[in-house]
Every structure is written in structure tokens, then in C-alpha cells.
Symmetry: C2
Subunit: 292 residues, 2 copies
């Protein structure tokens, strides 16, 4: 990977005593394209480095949705935790078909590294999130302690959070949580479409590291996972999320409620109103491990 | 005013144990055009009528901005208060010039009743908010207690909140608060443009009931008002808001800190990040009076 460029500050907003800053840089992981992200620094970061909670957003979203609608900033400020909001895909790669569908290509990077030749130069959101952003932020001298990282996300970003957490050989993240995650994408339409599109080996290749249910089935070490989903979520009802498969696999691997907690929330849907309702729970869940 | 039509439910999202519902109806006050609004009902409304806090949004906004980004729903749920989010203007009146500027016409109704003939059939947001919406909601049998109402808002909506509160002969609202309100529009560019555009008597006519500073100067009864504005707010810095004028007039009328509290918030700007930071304060401020 060639060098990524230095950060350019696009905007800054004070919030809950801290600062939400939007940055841009030329991303080597994303083929040299400009990449945006938001970073929330709580006021306590003026005095010491703070732990980092990465929020991965869902299909069609950008770095802004979670920052604007997630109800995360106030709770993170209270806990003294930074929030990092990456984008959901490269922007402007100009690959044929990139903008044909809302659930594939732009806005739908699925937090993987593409292996099909036409996509692999640009679609490397996994490297972008796990390696590039920490490197770029550390190089910029921001007051972040990347030895204390956790990850959470929504829908496709919940898939990202669970799979990045469970497939990390270095235990990069201390805990993972998700709102309405795509839990078993190799058995769901969105996932199959993405994997067949981005990966040379298609859905079979995805089983190695891009399916949370497959991963938890093979996992041995202790984990800290929280999942919430709503019973009125149309994507849950149409079989895109499959949290039951994840839960069954987790219990089959011997993980109990203390390690893998999957909560069914009566009447909630797939929207940010659902996320904002349980945001406080998730921030406090991660704080347990980030501040331990 | 001819009859408004019955409510049509457009969407519903569960949030914080309650429900955020978007409705549409044909608004007589707005010349028979379709009007949208959002209503948040806390779960306690299943058992008894709840008080109503009206949120008036700013220039270019719709009924959605406050509901999605304001950080109000969770705190209102906790206090057992309903939130009513009207739109900011009629939509689709097709008046010449209506869509020429972002700060006049569509999205910029200024919570007044227009008196210029070309605008007066449609641009009656004052009647829409103060009379029509309560009537339509009561007729629909929703569990709202309109004898307990308060009002708050942002920017142009802060102007709306302060002026509807201070000019109500019936003491319709128990308290008013505002984020970065336009406090003295007869002396500010946005206000002058709106008043010259909508009112036959222009800015002079506006002094009667559409300028918070003018109104508090003449006001006699006790009031409950909270205002927050940020020192990094570009619209404050360019003289659109003029909170000092409002504060000076209030003190001149003998209102002390207990009745009119104006807080300068260091480093905050005009955005919803500022609003969301102080949302909890404002909801609790109104709860004091709505639940008394």
C-alpha cells in the first residue's frame, strides 16, 4: 500500500463539550481516492489519549449518518471515548456498474477487501478501517489510544463490526456490538450479491472471514458481543439479517449470555430511531472494556 | 377557515418506548395544501393524556430535522411529554418567487400570517401551528392535553417560539425556549426580507407581534423563557440573531434571570450538534411547567 496523504480538515462542530471534526485524505487503501471520515473527540482528550470506538454505517450511508442521528456523541462524551465514523465505500472509482444498485458498489463496500480484479484496486474497506485509518490518525498526532479500540455498527455495518472483530488475528478490538446486523450474509440476498460481485471465490470465499455466523462457529477465544434487533424490522422479516443463525452458532460454540448477548426488541424497526434508542446501552457496553 | 381534512398516517417508528408518527392532512390554514408533521407520543400516553411541547424548526428545514437530529425524543420519553414537529412553510403554493431564495418562501414561513394578497392564502404558519394543528389533533382523538402546551425552536423557529409565546393573548403556552433564535428580526436582514415580503405593512407591521425584542419590551405578565446561543455561530456573528437586544429589553422590562435566562455557550455554532448538546436542558426546563 502506497502512502496515504495527510489529513485535511473539512469542518468542525463543537458538541457535548467535545469536537466533531470531518476530515478528508487521499486513501491508498481505496485506490488513491479521497476518503472522508468524522471523528468525535471528547473534551477529556485535551489532557490524555482516549480509547476509540469505531462506528460502521449501513447501506447507502456515509460518515455522517451515525454522527448526526445515532445519539452517540453525548454518551461517548460522558464516558471519555472517541468515536470514529468511516464512510461505507470508496467514492468515485468509476467502475462499471458501481452506481447501478443501492445495495452494491457505492455506499455498499461491505467492509471487505475485494479480490475480483475490477474492484480490488478501490474496494478495500477492511484495510481502510482496520489499518489505514489508525495509521493516518496516529501519524496526525491525534490524542487517540489505538491499543484500546472497539467496534460497532448498523446493518451492513453491524456485519462489518462482528466480522472485523471475530476475524482479527491480533485482537484489534476489545468488544463488538451491532444494531440489526447482517449476521449470516452467505445465506442472505444482500450478502450473496456483494460476495459474488466483489470476491473471485464468491460466497464460498466469504465464509473464511466475512460471515459472522461462520466465524463464531469456529471461534475459540472469549468474546464480548452485544446485538440488538427489532421485531418490526422489514429487513429482519425478509431474511436479510438472520440473527437467530448467529445466536444458534454462538451457543453451539459454547458462548453464553455473558459473552454473546442477542436481544430481540419488540416493535422496533431498522431506522436510526431504533439505533438512537439503544445507543446509550451500546456505548456503556463498550466503555466496560475500553476503560478496563 | 374552511375545514381541514382528517389525518393520514405516512409512517411510524418506535423510539424510546414511544412512537414517532408522521401525518399528512389538507391544511385549511395553508390554503388547502397538504401539510406534514411529526408527532412523538411517549409510552405513558397509552394510559393518559400527555402535555405537548411544540418544536419549530429553522430556515430550509422540514418536520424531520428536529425529530431526527435534535436529541429530543429520549428526554421527552423520560418526562412523559409529547413532541409536535410542524413543517416550516406551506409546500407547493406555486407563488411567483416562492422558491427563488433559501431564506424566503418555501422552508421560510417565519411563523406569521401573511397579509400581502399573493401570500395570504397560503402563508399562515401562525394559524397552522397555534390553532389548526391542535384542532386537527384533538379531532383525531390523540391522547394530547392541549391545556398543557409549551413551545421551543431553532433559529427562525426560535423566533417563532418566542413570538408565539409572547404574543398569545390566551397564554396558550406555559413556557418558551430557543436555540440560537432570531431575537430581533426587525433589525436583521433575514427578518426584514421576510416581513417586507409577506406583510403589507412590512417591518413596521411586524413590530406588533413578530419581533421578540419588541414584544418583551411591552410585556407585563410573568414569563418562563430560556435561550441558548453559541459564540461560534456565524449567523450570530453576522447580526442575524441579536440575542443581546432581547436580553437588554427583557431586563429593561424588569424580567430577571429566573424569568428570562439567556445563555452564551462558548464555541458552539448554529448546527444540530449545538442543539443536541443542550436538548436535555430544554426538555427539562419545559417539563417544570408542563408537569406542574
Amino acid at each position: 500500500m502506497s502512502n496515504s496523504s495527510a489529513l485535511e480538515k473539512l469542518s468542525s462542530n463543537k458538541a457535548f463539550g467535545g469536537d466533531l471534526v470531518k476530515y478528508k485524505f487521499k486513501s491508498a487503501a481505496l485506490g488513491g481516492l479521497d476518503a472522508n471520515f468524522n471523528l468525535f473527540l471528547p473534551s477529556v482528550s485535551e489532557n490524555s489519549k482516549v480509547p476509540v470506538l469505531v462506528y460502521l454505517s449501513g447501506l447507502t450511508c456515509t460518515e455522517d449518518n451515525g454522527a448526526q442521528k445515532g445519539n452517540f456523541l453525548g454518551h461517548a462524551a460522558q464516558e471519555g471515548i472517541a468515536l470514529l465514523f468511516p464512510d461505507t465505500s470508496p467514492r468515485g472509482a468509476a467502475i462499471q456498474g458501481e452506481d447501478a444498485d443501492w445495495d452494491f458498489g457505492t455506499g455498499a463496500g461491505f467492509y471487505l477487501n475485494a479480490t475480483k480484479p475490477e474492484w480490488s484496486k478501490f474496494y478495500n474497506m477492511r484495510t481502510h478501517v482496520t489499518l489505514e485509518l489508525p495509521q493516518v490518525l496516529e501519524a496526525a498526532g491525534l490524542p487517540l489510544d489505538f491499543t484500546r479500540q472497539s467496534v460497532f455498527g448498523h446493518s451492513m455495518g453491524g456485519h462489518g463490526a462482528l466480522t472485523l472483530y471475530l476475524s482479527s488475528s491480533t485482537k484489534q478490538y476489545r468488544s463488538a456490538s451491532a444494531f440489526a446486523p447482517i449476521c449470516n450474509p452467505v445465506n442472505a440476498p444482500w450478502g450473496k450479491k456483494a460476495f459474488e460481485g466483489y470476491l473471485q471465490g464468491g460466497t464460498e470465499e466469504a465464509k473464511e472471514q466475512y460471515d459472522a455466523t461462520e466465524l463464531i462457529e469456529r471461534h475459540k477465544d472469549s468474546v464480548h458481543i452485544l446485538v440488538d434487533y427489532g421485531t418490526s424490522d422489514n429487513f429482519y422479516k425478509s431474511g436479510q439479517l438472520l440473527p437467530e443463525n448467529f445466536l444458534t452458532a454462538a451457543r453451539g460454540s459454547g458462548y453464553d449470555e455473558m459473552q454473546v448477548r442477542v436481544r430481540e426488541q419488540e416493535g422496533y424497526d431498522h431506522s436510526y430511531f431504533f439505533i438512537s434508542t439503544f445507543a446509550e446501552d451500546h456505548i456503556h457496553f463498550h466503555a466496560n472494556f475500553l476503560k478496563a
